[in-house]
Symmetry: C2
């Protein structure tokens, strides 16, 4: 039995059974092989050189490169394009972003975009255990790994729960560490929902990504050890830089 | 303190602080509001009507619609464009696709693309507990929900483990159900990795999506109750139709 599309490799095959391969995709497959040869950090030839080498138009090369950039196989570095490292593998767990990144030997960081109080809208109230209209914090931070901007995080929590968030908390540190060490609040559990979305223009600007880059969006609703709703977090991660891992147990 | 970007709503804001809103994004925001008014299944006005209504070019409308389609807010229906329903929320669990979809009141289905034996390549061997070169099954199926194609699943398992897969198993049924009921094999646990990727041309053709639609890719390595590696599964889900949920417990 002759396989039609390399079933033996756990790698996804891109070529339709009808055998008509889009031209840009054939170029992408060849650049993909080149990426393997160059290895992480290797400098890719210019668009013009690639177009000459593969005897296609520069627009065809550009389309192939665009997908490889969106997928995180390549990244821009100065005026060139280099082979990217593997995606960060962040565990889905109640541990903070800070702890997750540190475990992978990367240096976590956060950069504060805004911290403001506002009256809790009805839609947000149940998820954080607030009464509609009571003061709520919205803290927005850019997530960093080795100084690279990789995500954007919005935290919503009742002001009554963390009254001195604006004066006492170092916004480049772990919010979970602050809750635990200064306020004695520990997490009990959380519900999370993951989806893929496109970056909005504002998000793309803050994270420094091309607009419409596929992102991973995680919605978290967490509760403390007494089962009381604690915070709602919306975390947006660059889809080209992050993957998420989990261990599933028996039902 | 006057918020600059509607922090009160748990909805993501798209407008950069510098206030220069891309024209297509302003149109997208207006169509987004229209989507809310029309409700699920509602028919969107034509591109031409929208361009006239918002006094922009049809290309600008097209860009806004393209993003709303990729995000799963709209879907094509015949020659028109209608408001899509919410994304399916699939629990991350050892339960099968079949059970997950059924729990949401949708009718699961699978359509066999191919089932073939091949000698196990070295890279695949440890993950499924095989010796390199021994026969391995590769089963590839399109995932359906209410007859709509929503994903593509590749399963790799040793032939020695399921010798009669080709003659005994109904490929439109649950593989996990088959393992449990016919072979007495139950799952112990599994490691999963989630990421977002672009559909390859072959995948787009099989699932019937636009090429380069953002997809959610889940890699699963599962073990039986004795801790022996059992199967490797690579599942690709339409990013515009699926989200995944999980409950996180204390560390």
């Amino acid at each position: 039995m002759e396989p039609t599309h390399s079933p033996g490799s756990p790698v996804r095959s891109g070529i339709p059974e009808h055998g008509r391969i889009p031209k840009y995709y054939a170029v992408k497959a060849r650049i993909s092989a080149l990426i393997g040869e160059l290895g992480e950090g290797g400098l890719l030839p210019t668009e013009r050189d690639l177009a000459e080498r593969y005897e296609v138009s520069r627009e065809t090369v550009r389309q192939a490169l665009r997908e490889l950039l969106l997928e995180g196989r390549l990244r821009r570095a100065g005026r060139g394009t280099v082979v990217a490292g593997p995606k960060l593998e962040q565990p889905l767990s109640l541990a903070s972003y800070t702890e997750g990144v540190r475990r992978q030997g990367r240096r976590p960081g956060r950069h504060l975009i805004g911290l403001e109080q506002f009256p809790c809208p009805p839609g947000l109230a149940p998820g954080i255990g607030a009464e509609p209209g009571e003061p709520v914090w919205h803290m927005e931070r850019v997530l960093l790994a080795d100084d690279e901007r990789v995500g954007l995080e919005s935290t919503y929590v009742r002001v009554a729960r963390v009254p001195r968030l604006d004066s006492e908390f170092q916004p480049d540190s772990s919010f979970y560490g602050y809750l635990r060490e200064r306020l004695g609040i520990s997490f009990g559990d959380a519900d999370e929902k993951l989806e893929t979305v496109l970056a909005t223009p504002r998000e793309a600007l803050l994270i420094g990504t091309p607009p419409a880059l596929p992102m991973l969006l995680i919605h978290r609703f967490s509760r403390d050890r007494d089962g009381r709703p604690l915070e709602r977090v919306r975390s947006l991660y660059r889809g080209d830089r992050f993957s998420f891992t989990t261990r599933l147990g028996p039902e």
